[in-house]
């Protein structure tokens, strides 16, 4: 009896093995912020975006079995690295996506290179990922600090905002954003009249706003993110900034932040994003699916989440071309060879340093009376073509370029 059972099991295992020989298994790990400040701009929304990409891809490629797992890096590089190692070594994850928070991302890109897997960086901002820290296992989707500074800074100066005062978050990210934007402002004929550096997670900005008002600068540049940006704009509206002669320029603002502010408060704000849910029919249809899958009809996907979807799709195409996900470097090389094409970012390319080139858009937040339906946040002011939106290849100091 037992013998027959063992034989039957053996036979079953053999047939399974034969079946999976034609099948390609890919495992994707979405390493993200599930519980803290970036949860709404990434988090469960990013995991869902990866699942949607997997689903869409498997429809056209029935021989693929794509599995999506997720983890919370808690914005701590050590936690992120530990999860990444566990995923790759034990759970055979082939690609890590998302990773908001540049600090964690700079650690993960090294893990991916060491273990020859793929890091699809759609969440982090640091342009160093495609600069001095670039490697052949990483692709940087969505945005970076250079692009944000350049796009918003240039456009605002051109529209007459030629004197600036910076409210800067007092850590590496804020300093970099301020430095890059100030350079752009000055290169375009503008002037920086002053700056104040505030500690991260400041709840009251009134004192800083008074200083900004006293400077008489036309533009108050917000080189900060998340709650700090929201607090500064919310209190700025109270002090008459935005509706009067002084305006804010948000250097990193997501649609989720605009949603948190409400249009009444955020109106008139200039910002740059590479994806907006209400761009065209394809993005709208995708948004509807995303909202239905997450059961959050009053939340809108932001560019990071769109980046997870588009990046995952492009990654899977490269795996299909190679018929294997085993060699991360080869997959990334394949991703760079083929142009990108997806419903959310349109057509683009992946440059040799890992930078994905797609257009960026300068938006202005609508006035409440201009907004026709929930989520109708932005007016498109300018489109920055893909070849101008990102840092020129030669300025990045990426070893892959010189070598």
């Amino acid at each position: 009896m037992r013998k027959t059972f063992v034989l039957a099991a053996l036979a079953a295992a053999l047939t399974c093995g034969a079946a999976s020989a034609q099948q390609i298994n890919v495992k994707i790990g979405v390493l993200t912020d599930m519980s803290s400040l970036y949860k709404d701009a990434t988090g469960p929304g990013s995991v869902m975006a990866a699942k949607m990409a997997a689903e869409d891809f498997m429809k056209t490629h029935p021989n693929f079995k794509v599995e999506v797992v997720s983890g919370d890096h808690q914005n701590k590089p050590d936690v992120g690295v530990q999860i990444a190692n566990q995923w790759i070594d034990v759970e055979h994850v082939d690609m890590i996506a998302d990773v908001p928070n540049s600090g964690v991302a700079l650690a993960i890109t090294q893990v991916a290179a060491q273990k020859n897997k793929v890091f699809m960086a759609s969440g982090p901002a640091a342009s160093d990922l495609t600069g001095p820290k670039c490697n052949g296992n990483m692709v940087h989707w969505t945005y970076d600090t250079w692009m944000l500074a350049n796009a918003t800074g240039k456009a605002v100066v051109k529209n007459g905002g030629d004197t600036w005062f910076f409210l800067t978050s007092d850590y590496a990210f804020g300093h970099a954003l301020e430095r890059d934007t100030a350079a752009v402002v000055e290169a375009n004929g503008g002037k920086v009249l002053g700056k104040v550096r505030h500690p991260i997670n400041t709840s009251d900005f009134s004192s800083f706003l008074l200083q900004a008002q006293a400077s008489k600068a036309k533009i108050i540049g917000l080189a900060n993110a998340g709650g700090d940006t929201i607090n500064a704009i919310k209190q700025g509206a109270e002090f008459g900034i935005g509706s009067g002669s002084q305006k804010f320029a948000g250097l990193l603002v997501f649609a989720s932040d605009v949603n948190a502010l409400g249009l009444k408060t955020a109106q008139g704000l200039s910002l740059t994003e590479t994806f907006y849910w209400d761009m065209n029919d394809a993005t709208r249809a995708w948004t509807k699916r995303w909202q239905a899958a997450l059961k959050t009809p009053d939340k809108w996907p932001v560019m990071n989440q769109a980046g997870v979807y588009a990046g995952t799709l492009h990654y899977l195409k490269a795996v299909a071309a190679l018929k294997s996900a085993a060699d991360g470097k080869a997959v990334v090389a394949e991703m760079k060879k083929e142009p990108t094409d997806d419903p959310l970012f349109g057509k683009g390319t992946v440059r040799v340093d890992g930078r994905v080139l797609h257009p960026a858009y300068l938006f202005e937040v609508k006035k409440p009376e201009e907004s026709k339906y929930p989520g109708d946040f932005y007016k498109l002011k300018a489109t920055i073509p893909a070849d101008q939106a990102f840092r020129p290849l030669k300025d990045g100091n990426c070893p892959l370029v010189s070598g």
């Binding site: 550096r197 500690p199 800083f208 008074l210 709650g227 209190q235 109270e238 002090f239 409400g262």
Partner: protein, 295 residues
Amino acid sequence: MVDIFGIPSAALFGQLLIGLINGSFYALLSLGLAVIFGMLNIINFTHGAQYMLGALSAFLLLKYSGLGYWSALIVAPVLVGIVGVIIERMFLQWLYKLDHLYGLLLTFGLALIIEGVSRNYLGSAGLPYALPDSLRGGQNLGFMFLPNYRVWVIVASLTVCLGTWFVIERTRLGANLRAATENPMLVRAFGINVPRMITLTYGFGVALAAFAGVMAAPIYNVSPNMGSELIIVVFAVVVIGGMGSILGAIVTGFGLGIVEGLTKVFFPEASNTVIFVIMAIVLLISPAGLFGRRA
């Protein structure tokens, strides 16, 4: 124009005024903490979460029942106060006889649970809450633009602070309460229901936190993290003022608001730290705080 340390005096007046207004927030929050510690001997680490619940309730009341800012100012503190009463009845009442540490751990754990659950349902980016129309705009004082809402904050906060101080220090109810803290057995012998009084005091302290939360909703980002960002500063205020001293909490709240405001002008990078530097100095010189009674 006269310059003071390189800053025009007019700008400095503006900053002093702003500091005073921020101080009134600290005073309002530390008042609730001081009442709870003074009367119940509980270090209420849930205070930040309860402040956050006040702001979230204001948002939810507006969204689901159309209640505006002014109604929320009354309804939200009552609702959150009831939550406080439930917490006191279910958990805290068993801890009065134990070491402070137990109360601290319990309330800290509760704060984490409340914040985690709110984050799960409402996300972390924040929720919109606009200024009430009647308080929009502001006054041009010549040396600065003073938003009307800030004037309202300082008026409301002063009224609530002085009212609370008056009730506890100058009325019969307050006298009973203070007596019950000193010697509950004796006060019970006079026919006063001490446990109920303690429960209501906790509810009141929590309602104060929620009130501050509603006051904060139109100007600060309404998010599940808003309490934990502020609570540490408020604890420092209470420690400097003297644990449990109500007058100490109020005076220190306003005073530290001004100190912080000035730091934001002269050395903005240190504006988060300055309060803790002062706390360290005060603890070295007078361990019971500026207004505390020595044990």
